[in-house]
């Protein structure tokens, strides 16, 4: 099951834009499309780790700023012919415009890598 975290309001994100939420899973990019839906992907392109939150959003897709890979916002899948996938997370948009991000079992995850001797 997901733990749901309030992350702000839809209007905190510009249309066709994106903002980053810092989570124990790493940085998660929250996207707002032109039809006012919100999507969340890990902020790392499966190609060379580019920050997807800095890309150009169009339709339900984002283009990575580093090498123009395109990813589906709904699934995180790269658009063919590229092959790859960015982790995607569920986002819930309340009627009052508040956004919630669903994260898996965050509590049980270590917040930082354990130091090794």
């Amino acid at each position: 099951m997901y733990d749901w975290y309030e992350i702000g309001a839809l209007d905190d994100i510009p249309r066709l834009g994106s903002r980053v939420v810092q989570t124990p899973h790493g940085e998660v990019a929250i996207f707002r499309t032109s039809d006012d839906q919100a999507f969340a992907l890990r902020d790392r392109c499966p190609h060379k780790g580019g920050p997807l939150s800095q890309g150009i959003v169009h339709g339900h897709r984002v283009t990575c700023p580093l090498h123009n890979w395109m990813l589906e916002l709904e699934s995180g899948q790269a658009v063919a012919p590229d092959v790859g996938c960015a982790t995607h997370y569920p986002v819930r948009l309340e009627a009052d415009g508040r956004l919630f991000l669903g994260l898996n079992n965050v509590v049980s995850l270590p917040t930082a890598a354990p130091a090794t001797a």
């Binding site: 309030e6 905190d12 903002r19 810092q22 899973h25 920050p51 700023p65 580093l66 090498h67």
Partner: protein, 810 residues
């Protein structure tokens, strides 16, 4: 209920229209197709290779019968339509089948012209048009051994070659003295004839056929001079006639073909027509490329999108005879005012001729080496000024690229030779992808292999590989659409923005029927630029349509950090500025500090959230954004000039500073660099800049259109100026002309090669009023542009969301 569309003619033009229609309006019509031939839809152009035994009928099928079922199309194969009843809006087929329509599409193609000779109805006398003809010919090769082909044009030679390959003794009869006179000049025609004779074809030139002899079956052909040659087969390939019987009977207006307007509509508004049966602006076409263009336009209007008009086609031809490379396009015979550029190498069997008028290609004939056919055709269609590379144009496009080797052909390269240096793609990979994934276009090759998808300098090589691998399907390098979101080219879109006064992206999307809801990463930045450069006071700069670098006013690096370059006017700096830079680097632990090629200092590895604070500190020392990240004015590089240098003739540094103060903050189609050198020794390298000034004792030489980069280009001398004021006027006017007419992401170098230096001179040097008007528009648009983007953001009131995380959770 869906509207009913009936197509008469299951050939290439008609079905291409249906395919285009299904792509844009899949559910609009209930579609019924009548075809006289009992097959699915096949590629008629490839009949010659089938005849020659190089391909099978299955291999040239475009859509087989299951495809029609899958698409829900009712196909009546083998059913010729015999009547159109226009008032009842229905068609009737030979077997009595009746199909009602709301829209009717005629694509009845053409018939081979059969000479009115005695004996032309004997068995064994045929045209060369469809699968049935090919089957008849193949049957004849099994029983007989002699064949006569009447007609030494494209089709006749392909038929003759095929029959010869099947083991027949073939004589080609042609009424004129040169072969393929509609495509070749006499020199190329003679070379072709020699090659074909060496392969075993016989030719009778200047021969008039008098009669075909035989009882039931053809036995011989007799000529006017009395000569008789025995034969088992006669193929008539003397031309085609648009098949207009059906339309004529139905009272639809026809001349040579069915007359259509620019939307492919006939005189009956419910009836459209495409393909070889059509007469458009007085012209009938028998080649494939025009059909594709007609199909696109027609589908668009059938779908009621109502955009796109067919303006006629310039055509090119290739001969599909294996081992013979031949290409022709346009006006290849020249005429008044035309010049011919010719390369002829009998030993290699190569002949190339370009017909040129005022440095624009009018026509081309290539024999033996046709690799550059599509390039010349593009130069022809785009009316490119070839003045700058005229002396090497016949050596080909590859010669223009970095690799510039003489006699270079990409297909002679090894499979592991690297084609795309940016993405590390070698030739073998590209060939393999084209073959395995059945790629047909440059875009597809880019998508699958990434070759030429980055800097684009290897595009020509990739196109050559594509051409050589796919073969010779005639493709027209039309004006390229901006991207997959639209059919319109950059120039069309831009004209629409100006003429229809479009000021927002949404206006553009709706007015020009964009296919995607928000465009894409490729078209949005271009559109945003066109909007703000066309309507500087009205259009809103759309931040979400800018590439990240222009959105956050810094350069993204491979690890997601940014680089920051403050402006140093004319390359001048001071102890105070250097101290501030050093302090910023210390304070924000900036890992790399580097001097750039543009005489400034680059701070690399700045974290995004630190950007506003870094800028605030730099602003405090008086520095502003250097726009090192933008499609905009970058730097003005200078040498020290007459203030210090013993050779300096003018104050080059001072002029550089003035130019930079005037032009900074302006957005341009691509980056724009300047330089001012104080003497002809040119220490500031002004002759590889977009705009360069070389000071001389008597004034200033103004140079334009240079760049370093992928393909170095030295500048062209635009003019000489006497005063700094004049230089500023030329500078502003030149930038404005480029801003208004250059395509997005086209630097001044390719722009000038496209439009020609003489054009630029005519607008700026020879037309003083126009120069002043351009300069005025430039200064006017600068009123809104010269705001330091760093200061706006450092103070925290603009685009704060760009630099802060939304929230931290967990």
């Amino acid at each position: 209920m869906k509207e009913r569309l009936v197509l008469v003619g299951n050939g290439m033009a008609g079905m291409r229209t249906i395919e285009e229609l299904l792509a844009i309006a899949p559910d609009k019509f209930d579609i019924t197709v009548f075809g006289a031939e009992p097959h699915g839809n096949y590629n008629r152009i490839m009949l010659s290779p089938v005849l020659a035994g190089e391909k099978t009928v299955e291999q040239i099928m475009i859509n087989d019968l299951p495809w029609y079922e899958e698409k829900g199309i009712h196909l009546h194969a083998g059913q010729a339509v015999v009547e159109i009843h226009r008032s009842r809006r229905e068609v009737r087929a030979a077997d009595g089948t009746v199909a009602p329509y709301d829209r009717l599409l005629l694509a009845t193609g053409s018939n081979p012209f059969i000479l009115p000779l005695p004996g032309n109805n004997l068995q064994g006398v045929i045209g060369f048009r469809d699968i049935h003809d090919v089957e008849t010919m193949l049957a004849a090769t099994r029983s007989g051994k002699n064949a006569v082909v009447i007609g030494g044009g494209l089709l006749g030679l392909e038929a003759a070659n095929g029959l010869m390959k099947q083991g027949m003794q073939v004589t080609v009869v042609h009424v004129l003295d040169t072969l393929m006179e509609r495509q070749l000049d006499p020199v190329a025609a003679d070379m072709l004839r020699t090659t074909l004779e060496e392969r075993g074809l016989r030719f009778l030139m200047g021969a008039n056929t008098a009669a075909i002899l035989g009882e039931d079956r053809v036995r011989a052909v007799r000529f006017k001079d009395g000569l008789e040659i025995p034969t088992d087969l006669v193929v008539m390939a003397v031309g085609i006639r648009p098949n207009i019987e059906l339309a004529k009977k139905a009272g639809i207006y026809c001349e040579r073909g069915i007359v259509v307007n620019d939307t492919m509509q006939t005189y009956d508004p419910r009836v459209y027509a495409v393909g070889e049966c059509v007469q458009h602006r007085g012209q009938c076409y028998g080649l494939v490329a025009p059909l594709w263009e007609q199909a696109k336009v027609c589908a668009n209007h059938l779908a009621r999108f109502g955009i796109g008009s067919y303006q006629g086609s310039v055509t090119s031809t290739k001969l599909k005879v294996t081992g013979i490379d031949l290409f022709s396009a346009g006006n290849f015979n020249g005429g008044p005012g035309c010049e011919e550029i010719v390369l002829r190498d009998p030993a290699r069997g190569v002949y190339k001729k370009l017909v040129v008028k005022e440095n624009r290609v009018q026509g081309a004939v290539l024999y033996g080496d046709t690799v550059d056919g599509s390039w010349y055709f593009q130069l022809l269609r785009e009316n490119t000024d070839i003045g700058a590379f005229r002396e090497t144009v016949l050596f080909g496009h590859a010669h223009m690229a970095d690799s510039g080797r003489d006699g270079f052909s990409v297909m002679t390269m090894a499979d592991d030779a690297e084609i795309c240096g940016c993405n590390g793609v070698c030739k073998g990979t590209i060939v393999k992808a084209i073959a395995e994934k059945k790629l047909f276009t440059l875009d597809e090759v880019r998508a699958h292999t990434k070759a030429s998808a980055s800097c684009g300098s290897c595009t020509g090589l990739v196109e050559q590989i594509l051409a050589a691998t796919v073969g010779t399907i005639g493709k027209t390098p039309a004006e390229k659409p901006m991207c997959k979101c639209t059919e319109h080219s950059h120039d069309t879109v831009r004209a629409a923005i100006r003429e229809r006064h479009l000021t927002t992206l949404r206006d553009v999307f709706t007015t020009l029927d964009w296919k995607t809801p928000d465009g894409c990463h490729s078209c949005r930045p271009a559109l945003n630029y066109y909007l703000i450069s066309t309507w500087p006071h009205e259009a809103q700069d759309d931040q979400q349509s800018r590439f990240i670098n222009e959105r956050v006013h810094a350069n993204i690096q491979k690890d997601g950090t940014y680089s920051v370059v403050p402006r140093m006017w004319g390359g001048l700096t001071s102890p105070k500025e250097l101290r501030a830079i050093a302090d910023v680097a210390d304070k924000f632990q900036i890992p790399t500090v580097k001097v750039t090629g543009g005489q400034r200092i680059d701070l690399l590895g700045v974290k995004k959230e630190d950007l506003p604070k870094v800028w605030a500190d730099l602003n405090a020392a008086g520095m502003v954004s250097g726009h090192a990240y933008g499609k905009s004015l970058r730097t003005v590089k200078t040498c020290v000039g007459s203030d210090w240098c013993r050779f300096g003739t003018q104050d080059s540094t001072g002029l550089g500073v003035k130019l930079e103060k005037m032009t900074w903050g302006s957005w341009t189609p691509h980056k724009f660099k300047m330089a001012v050198s104080g003497c002809p020794r040119n220490c500031a390298e002004a002759t590889i800049k977009d705009f360069g000034v070389v000071c001389v004792d008597s004034g200033y030489e103004v140079h334009v259109g240079g760049n370093g980069g992928i393909k170095i280009r030295g500048t062209d001398l635009l003019c000489k100026c006497a005063t700094e004021e004049e230089v500023k006027e030329y500078c502003g006017a030149f930038m404005q002309l480029y801003r208004e007419e250059g395509r997005y992401l086209e630097r001044t170098a390719p722009w000038i090669e496209r439009v020609g230096l003489s054009y630029v001179k005519s607008r700026i040097v020879e037309d003083a009023d126009n120069r002043k008007a351009l300069y005025g528009r430039f200064l006017d648009s600068q009123k809104h542009a010269q705001v330091d983007p760093w200061a706006e953001r450092a103070s925290g009131y603009k685009d704060a969301h760009e630099f802060q995380a939304l929230r931290q959770v967990g």
